[in-house]
């Protein structure tokens, strides 16, 4: 930090730290509340059963999006008001302001994405209501409205990552990027269930999707961090989320069943449903990625190294997921043919993930004003 720039600079940083952290923390809290609601809801259907619209897990899911959406709306309105009044707009709060509807609104990039995701969530919520009216509460996670809802929340969380990336000058900004990327991986393990619609014999398509997204997001963390440790940090954030939800979701389903007087199902396999979909081997795999990144010290370009690292990561995630599923659900024998096929497809997906992820990391880095800039766009 340039302390020689005088009092004005110091005041500006302190003020933006204060004003930026509150809305960033609020959209992250919204994302986390949605994640809690989702893991609880899935466990509820597996362990207890009946669904109505007004369950506690649904309340968490909906209020999470509402919190993220309202926080984004407030920031957009404040940014718009500031620009109209001719006050400077701090790009560390959510990124540079983008004109929306001509110049009616000025919306910081990150909050625009979060707010758009939250608004779409509400529309898909209405559609989901209509769907349940027609088909009943079928508790099918991969129905079209559910996938629309999950994709909307995904958009909101991507906005959250962007909001923190814009504040990378602050420590909380970089920590927030890592944390929200972890939330995004955890969340997307359910969204990829939409791929169940694609039926390929002998291939675990959902695990290929998990390989793609986890490698992509871990590489994005590495590309953003731009020094050793970014990939491992994101994987560690996922491991923490997995550990907490592993304990939380079965407990919450049982506690809620007790509160509403419903029995647990006769046969419960005891497996926390959503946490067991998250790739358990991601932390050591991320360490392998970090080792491959070291090749760039030998003069290889970082982007190319990330493609190679991504392919290796995709191969390992692709191989580990069917093995993880067989162990967690106590399969009689290991499905080796599926393991090899999924690993091969995972390597191809990982190649793409490594390529795009590294670039996304760089793009996230550009959301923040350059250091030394007075941060006013």
């Amino acid at each position: 930090m340039d302390l020689t720039a005088g009092g004005a600079r110091a005041v500006s940083v302190a003020r933006s730290e204060r004003t930026g952290l509150v809305p960033a923390g609020t959209v992250l809290a919204g994302s986390v509340i949605s994640l809690i609601g989702l893991t609880w809801d899935i466990q509820w259907h597996g362990d207890v059963g009946p669904d109505t619209f007004f369950t506690m897990p649904h309340l968490f899911l909906y209020s999470g999006s509402a919190i993220s959406g309202l926080a984004s709306l407030v920031v957009v309105l404040m940014t718009t008001a500031a620009r109209r009044a001719g006050r400077p707009v701090d790009a560390r709060v959510g990124g540079r302001a983008i004109n929306v509807f001509g110049k009616v609104f000025a919306a910081p990039a990150g909050y625009l994405v979060t707010g758009t995701g939250a608004a779409m969530f509400l529309l898909y919520g209405l559609w989901d209501q209509w769907w349940h009216g027609l088909y009943g509460f079928d508790a099918v996670i991969d129905s079209p409205p559910h996938i629309g809802l999950l994709l909307s929340i995904t958009l909101s969380i991507i906005g959250t990552v962007m909001v923190f990336a814009a504040a990378r000058e602050h420590r909380w900004g970089t920590v927030g990027v890592v944390g929200s990327l972890g939330v995004l991986i955890a969340f997307s393990t359910v969204t990829v269930l939409g791929l169940q619609q694609i039926d390929v014999d002998g291939l675990d398509v959902v695990s290929v999707g998990i390989a793609l997204l986890s490698v992509l997001l871990v590489s994005a963390g590495a590309g953003f961090w731009a020094r050793p440790g970014g990939a491992v940090r994101v994987a560690a954030a996922l491991a923490v989320i997995q550990a907490i939800t592993w304990w939380f979701s079965p407990w919450a389903a049982e506690a809620y069943a007790g509160a509403v007087g419903l029995p647990m199902r006769d046969y419960i396999d005891g497996v926390p449903a959503m946490p067991s979909m998250m790739p358990m081997a991601l932390l050591p795999i991320a360490a392998v990625l970090e080792a491959v990144y070291l090749l760039s010290r030998r003069g290889w370009s970082a982007g190319r190294v990330s493609v190679l690292a991504g392919a290796i990561g995709g191969l390992l995630v692709g191989a580990s997921m069917p093995i993880q599923n067989a162990i967690v659900y106590g399969a009689d024998r290991m499905p080796w043919a599926v393991v090899f096929a999924t690993a091969a497809a995972g390597a191809v997906a990982g190649l793409l993930g490594g390529f795009a992820g590294w670039r996304f990391g760089g793009m996230l880095g550009l959301l923040a004003p350059a250091k030394g800039d007075n941060a006013h766009a």
Binding site: H45, V48, G49, P50, D51, T52, F54, M56, L59, V113, T116, G117, M120, Y124, W131, L134, Y135, G136, F137, D138, A139, V140, P144, P145, I147, G148, L151, S152, T154, L155, I158, G223, A226, R227, P228, A259, V260, G261, L262, P263, R265, D266, Y267, Y293, L294, S296, R297, S301, A302, G303, V305, S306, W358, R359, F360, G361, G362, M363, G365, L366
Partner: protein, 182 residues
């Protein structure tokens, strides 16, 4: 801040306190029944919706003539689309009608002629039986391709966003962006 937190905790507490009343789950209403002979056991299969339509969830009940006490069993479906017998699942108590076996919120996903295959073990030994030719009519609502197209709009929004950002940052990230190691 503390006040806000307290208010939030109070609101959640209130919700928990009032949910039992709000969640008075509806009783299981059987509007149609079919008979199946599962080895030595006669059984009534009940449906809360009739006729059945694809993708519409309903309550199924499976009631052996002299009750479920002392018995266990499994149920597997033959999906008309694939013709394959699915993995058998244990017959379990219906969550809202605990004296009988049943399935809640279950939908049969495809139209056609379904088969339910039962296996029951009890005092009179082990038996198997099938409920065949269970007609499931076409799904209501819009075609699935339309529904999926609507649902993938956020993905399209995301793709457009990425394409724009990718193009705009191209020059600044030339040379593969930031170094991997410092």
């Amino acid at each position: 801040m503390r006040k806000t937190l307290l208010a939030l905790v109070a609101a959640i507490g209130l919700l928990f306190a009032t949910t039992p009343a709000a969640n008075a789950y509806e009783p299981v209403n059987i509007v149609h029944t079919e008979r199946v002979q599962v080895g030595p056991y006669g059984m009534t299969v009940g449906f809360s919706t009739w006729p059945l339509r694809a993708m519409q969830s309903l309550d199924f009940t499976f009631i052996p003539d002299d009750g479920i006490a002392g018995k266990s069993g499994t149920l597997a479906f033959v999906n008309p689309e694939t013709g394959r017998l699915g993995r058998p699942q244990p017959l379990a108590k219906h969550p809202r009608k605990l004296e009988v076996w049943g399935l809640d919120i279950r939908a049969l996903q495809t139209q056609g002629s379904w088969t339910f295959r039962f296996e029951i073990e009890g005092p009179a030994g082990k038996g198997t039986g099938e409920l065949r030719d269970l007609a499931v009519l076409e799904q209501p609502g819009p075609p699935m391709a339309v529904s999926w197209s609507i649902s993938l709009i956020p993905l399209i929004v995301l793709a457009v966003l990425i394409a724009v950002a990718w193009r705009r940052t191209k020059s600044r990230l030339r040379g593969n962006g930031l170094p991997a190691t410092v």
